[in-house]
């Protein structure tokens, strides 16, 4: 629990709240100011917009602890505000609301538009209002209401001239003394490694039923130096293959040849450790096979299923091998909400490149470089900092070389 003190609608308030409390929840549940509405909770819909230090801000993606010493004004605090009074009347006259859910956020944003843009036309109003969604789609009335207020104020010479706040930095911040000494963060319980036995039972069972459907698909081809026969042999040793995969750690291989272990992934602020198992089914003589894996991240409760078809083709007159890979994967749980498929593919590409590099090193008798100097014992996170230097660096170099006429 954190003790916070701030000003809400002109009143000083103090409360003990968990650090994770959104400002919106603090206002609604702790201060009982339920005029502030919560919609999407990730900064898109604008229903939770309040004023912090006199400027509109999202109270869902602003945590109350970050507003120590700040001045917060909610729709309840606008009762005696002259612009808000004119807006309320105009919203009524122009039918600027239906269900009213977006209205508190609309009022705060509308007031900001009236103050900052005394000459706003409809295009400007619509542009500035684009961060507030009306689920009744009643924008025509809302825009008219704002326009009516702006025009009336222009006629009456009531525009009071907008002055931007002089302080630099995010609104809400910069009022309070440091409290870092109080920080007693301990690792969360969920990150403790789970027993192998539990992993096994969680991951075993019918393949199709044990994980989310693999609906995403990507195809790639990797060239690995070394003759196909040698690469194919290497593909039989799945423990060795796993050592080439950054972030993978095999704890056990059962009699059926199934790997049990963990795959750690770090993608910016997102990190996960998928406990699970993987099978490798080979079609001998055809130089192709299939990897099938399922896993679960304890911390986020995310489950993953992946199927990887691979086929080895001779290349470069037999001196190299092209590995054609077709990956199908599915996610369910918190991480499945990450809806930026292109970025995931880019990440997977970097993994594949690192894997190929490690495989080549292993074929030539070296230890795979897994990133953190823990070579050969691939218990490392897939940390893109160490991982991408090679791949991305190469990509940039290619561009610059071409530009400078060296490509």
């Amino acid at each position: 629990m954190k003790k916070i003190s701030l000003t809400v609608n002109g009143q000083s308030v103090t409360a003990d709240i968990p650090a994770r409390t959104q400002l919106a929840d603090f206002l609604r549940d702790n201060q009982l100011l339920t005029g502030t509405h919560i919609g999407c909770e990730h900064g898109i819909c604008g229903a939770c917009t309040v004023m912090i230090d006199g400027a509109p801000a999202r109270s869902c993606i602003t945590y109350a602890v970050a507003c120590e010493g700040a001045e917060v004004t909610t729709v309840e605090g606008l009762d005696d505000d002259p612009i808000a009074e004119e807006l309320r009347r105009a919203f009524q006259e122009q039918h600027g609301l239906q269900c009213g859910y977006c209205t508190p956020g609309m009022m705060v944003t509308a007031r900001d538009i009236v103050r900052r843009f005394p000459d706003a036309d409809e295009t400007r109003i619509r542009h500035e209002l684009s961060g507030n969604l009306c689920r009744c789609t009643g924008y025509v009335g809302i825009v008219r209401a704002i326009r009516q207020v702006i025009e009336a104020r222009r006629r009456n010479g009531a525009s009071d001239g907008f002055t931007a706040r002089s302080e630099l930095g995010p609104v809400g911040s910069g009022h309070a003394a440091a409290n870092a000494a109080e920080a007693v963060a301990k690792p969360a319980e969920a990150v403790k490694p789970v027993a192998t036995k539990a992993r096994k039972s969680a991951a075993s069972g019918d393949k199709a039923a044990s994980g989310p459907r693999p609906l995403n698909e990507m195809q790639r081809s990797l060239r690995i130096s070394g003759p196909r026969e040698q690469v194919w042999e290497q593909f039989e040793d799945i423990a060795a293959l796993a050592r080439c995969m950054p972030g993978a750690h095999v704890s056990e291989i059962d009699e059926a040849g199934r790997m049990i272990g963990v795959m750690r992934v770090k993608f910016g602020p997102i990190s996960a450790a998928f406990d699970g198992e993987a099978d490798n089914e080979r079609v001998e003589d055809a130089y192709r096979g299939k990897l099938f894996g399922t896993g679960r991240d304890q911390r986020t409760g995310t489950r993953v299923t992946a199927e990887v078809d691979y086929a080895l083709h001779e290349a470069d007159g037999g001196g190299a091998t092209d590995v054609a890979i077709s990956v199908r994967y599915g996610l369910s749980g918190a991480l499945a909400q990450f809806a930026r498929g292109g970025l995931v593919e880019d990440f997977a590409d970097r993994l594949a490149q690192q894997f190929a590099g490690n495989l080549e090193r292993m074929l030539s008798g070296e230890q795979p470089a897994t990133g953190d100097g823990d070579a050969g014992n691939a218990g490392n996170d897939v940390n893109a900092v160490s991982l991408v230097l090679g791949v991305l660096g190469a990509r940039l170099r290619r561009f610059f070389n071409r530009l400078l006429g060296r490509g």
Binding site: A19, R20, L168, P170, N179, L389
Partner: protein
Amino acid sequence: MKPAPFEYARAGSIKEASELLARDDITARILAGGQSLGPMLNLRLAQPDLLVDITGIPDLVAAERDGDSLYLGACVSHANVEDGRIPDVTNGALAEVARGIAYRAVRNRGTIGGSLAHCDPAADWPCVLPALGARAVVQGANDKREVAVEELMQAPFEPGLEPGEILAGLRIPAMSPDARWGYYKYCRKTGEFAEAIAAVAWDPARGFARIVIGALDTLPIVLGDNERLFGDTPERKPFDTYRPEEADRMLTDAGVRDPLKRQVHMVALRRALEFASA
């Protein structure tokens, strides 16, 4: 959704923040304006043990003209830039770009350093700052270094910061009075993640020309020499000799396989060039 539990610490100095961030027994993340991290926390995509709020560190909210460049603390907000609360050294480029970031309610808390350090390829600053030739000032508990922003960004969401290092600020070179710039961002809906971004800066007096193609699925393409895109006359009227077929080829090389997407990027680039030429 509500975020998973985390601890919160407000750092009073870079050294203090740095020490918390260097802890290897917990997952600690920097919190600046929180306008990108907040959604990821609320969706529980990110579940750090500790947030280190750096917005109270006085050095990080500085903005000052420093010789031929502008120094901006990492925690200067987009709205600060939009409102002209910082000296204009880019002939209006920074303010114009800031005006188009997300929504005003987001710009009032979102920070320029936070956006760069988040390294989202579809964000504005990771495309614009390289185009302007900006450098990142990176500070750890004991030492300080400077690196070109395009070298800081190592992959989507991955700034090249060592444990305990913080992006403290940005050094943005001052443009000559006759320098030109252009910026175009294509979004399906105002304020959403961009589908294409192009940034152009041309400053013949300083011998400086940059083109950035962004909002790809990977880091922006930063072109520091316009020879290939602009025929053989890089010094004179570069925008009149633009070769779209070269841009198309570069996009293909960067992995943009869908011709429609390439076309959207090329239109953004052309419009940025037109703006810079007008």
